[in-house]
């Protein structure tokens, strides 16, 4: 059974079919729009759900003279951003959307008469950027003050704009405006050969580089029915987990920094440096760029090198445990982390939250186990779940996942089969659209690709975990004090770049 299946339906059947799927326990995953070339013209919408251990795409056609499509956001808050993004980039309006503000375009001048992701988009017609005017809802009332922060922030952090409405120290409401680092990467990938578009996929985000690269490769492999050698499947697991390890170390260090426990953070940061150096030894690049390939990997890892890396990781884990034993004994740490930034189960589900944040709020969800890819089906993947949904829960989930990741790297290297690390690709002959799904450090990262008849990219859409989780971060800040916001933000530590693309 393929990981991704499609079902065609008329656009009018969309809402009732969605209701039926949700009743059967399906989870909304992404919405992809594309413009069709050729005689039929028009647009295709793919509403993708995770359902019964595979992904199901509901495919509906919009004729070329249609200017809108029925919105599902009132029923599915998780679809909110995707529908607004389609409005900005395709000019198709989500009819009945409860909050149809612009999302991707931040100035009043727009991106030209023809939206960017349409085929007859004219780059020359795009006006120079005007001053940014994020369209944010305002609250008014006695004692209420508005605190704007960003996009340029005080530390080493990506750009985003946060508008706090505060009553004294307490956050009454937080609105987040992202897309400051929108670079138009999906458009950029169109017309490229898959191997060239892979370099774009790797650079959607530096922190999730391998995860996005792998999702993209899996999507192409899915579309063209490319088999991947077993050795590559195991090495892909090791690389994915090495990326998770350096990310989680950084996230935990970040949380300790934001409660001013700089000594603890310093230890975790030096361990992160070790993890980055191990990634370099393993895949040739600290962030594992240039390692994943369509059909496998770009280079092999010799057995001796792999064994040394596994051994160094085991030593790193011992050090990590010693540091965490000291850190978790501290009352201040518990006092700051416990009860802060609660994301409750209902809100997490409604927003389609994924990854460690979902697991910390009680949702049992992990692509490695739900839709196993690479060699995960042959390995033991423990899932850690908490129910409180506070910063402490997210902290504990990441600590447990770090342990599990080290074990997974060691297991993958232990069981590494002999053989080639890449299939020979003689050409790209797509059978249809392709979907790749991976569990990145922040959760489920999806990639959908449509190839044209020559095998070049016609459409590439990446829906990363960060994209799904950002709205939940804003919700979980309400009711907390302003000084706790950096900590709450770091407990999710979502990427801006892979949200904005």
């Amino acid at each position: 059974m393929r990981a991704y299946e499609e079902r065609r339906l008329a656009i009018e059947e969309l809402l009732p079919t969605t209701e039926r799927l949700l009743a059967e326990g399906a989870r909304f995953a992404m919405l992809v729009a594309s413009e069709e070339r050729g005689s039929c013209g028009g647009f295709i919408l793919r509403h993708v759900f995770a359902h019964e251990h595979r992904y199901l795409g509901l495919v509906s056609v919009l004729e070329s003279d249609r200017s809108g499509f029925p919105s599902l956001s009132a029923r599915l808050p998780a679809a909110n951003w995707a529908e607004r993004e389609i409005n900005d980039l395709f000019g198709l309006a989500p009819v009945g959307h409860p909050d149809p503000r612009r999302l991707v375009v931040l100035d009043d001048l727009g991106l030209g008469r023809i939206p960017p992701l349409r085929h007859d988009f004219d780059l020359a017609s795009v006006p120079a950027a005007g001053p940014p005017r994020p369209d944010l809802p305002r609250m008014h009332g006695p004692r209420l003050f508005e605190v704007p922060v960003g996009p340029v922030h005080a530390g080493i952090i990506e750009p985003g704009h946060f508008r706090f409405t505060v009553d004294g120290e307490q956050v009454v409401q937080l609105e987040a405006q992202l897309f400051w680092t929108h670079r138009g990467l999906e458009k950029r990938s169109e017309g490229l050969w898959p191997a060239d578009a892979l370099r774009i996929a790797e650079r959607l985000c530096g922190a999730c580089s391998f995860a996005n690269a792998l999702a993209f490769c899996q999507a192409i492999e899915d579309a063209c029915r490319v088999a991947v050698p077993d050795r590559a499947l195991f090495l892909r697991v090791a690389a994915s987990e090495l990326e998770r390890i350096h990310n989680h170390l950084g996230d935990l260090a970040g949380m300790l920094t934001d409660i001013a426990y700089t000594a603890g953070a310093a230890h975790l940061q030096r361990l992160r440096e070790q993890a980055l150096q191990l990634a370099q030894a393993f895949g040739g690049h600290r962030l594992l760029m240039g390692f994943c390939a369509i059909g496998g990997l770009q280079r092999d890892v010799p057995r001796l090198a792999a064994r040394e890396i596994a051994s160094d990781l085991a030593t790193l884990l011992q050090e990590f445990r010693k540091v965490m034993a000291i850190v978790t004994r501290d009352e201040t740490v518990h006092d700051r982390l416990e009860g802060t930034g609660v994301l409750d189960l209902t809100m997490a589900r409604d927003h389609g939250v994924v990854g460690p944040a979902a697991r910390a709020s009680g949702i049992v969800l992990d692509v490695r186990r739900d839709q196993p890819y690479a060699a995960y089906g042959a390995l033991r993947v423990p899932i850690t779940v908490r129910s409180h949904g506070d910063v402490l829960a997210r902290f504990e989930v990441k600590v447990a996942e770090l342990e599990a990741s080290v074990a997974l790297v060691c297991d993958a290297i232990e069981q590494l089969p002999a053989g080639p690390v890449c299939s020979v690709i003689r050409g790209y002959w797509p059978h249809g659209p392709g979907l790749g799904a991976v569990e990145g450090p922040r959760g489920e990262n999806l990639a959908m690709v449509l190839l044209d008849l020559e095998g070049r990219i016609a459409r590439y859409h990446a829906r990363t975990a960060s994209y799904m989780n950002w709205p939940a971060v804003a919700r979980s800040a309400a009711g907390n004090i302003v000084p706790d916001f950096p900590l709450i933000n770091k407990s999710f530590n979502l990427c801006y770049a892979c949200t904005d693309r």
Partner: protein, 171 residues
Amino acid sequence: MWHMLFKSLLTGVVSDPELARAGEAVKRRARGIFGRSLQVRLVDAGSCNGCEIEIGQLLTPAYDLQRFGIDIVASPRHADALLVTGPVSRNMAHALLATWEATPAPKVVIAAGDCACDGGVIGAGYASAGGVDRVLPVDVRIPGCPPSPRLLLEGLLVAMGTYEAQPHRAH
């Protein structure tokens, strides 16, 4: 508290001695020009955050940038240099320019990473300018995707030299 104190003392120095030598050169230059230090403000103008990860590593004990008299400051008002990453996304163009205008002269602009240097893999498009020099005058370019922390430190050394060449410098 004592457990953490003993742990840190026992862990000792973790940074590379070779890097210490490179950094000493930066420190001497900084003292010569400023008498104190080089204050740097980072602006992420649309990077993938890979450069941010490596710049962030410079502040950790593995590289300990601050011992060389270089620091990342919270505001462009406090900065001698702007460290800019990314190809300048459309939505960040104005914020980048405003940050530069808020930085008092004399100032230096350092483009870090391939995207900032010349657009890199991303290039120019409807939402990307194709490099920092499309928006600001650039004094130093540090290539790499992303540049390693060591290369970033060497780039800061070059930036010091550029700063020295500017007229009207303040002490």
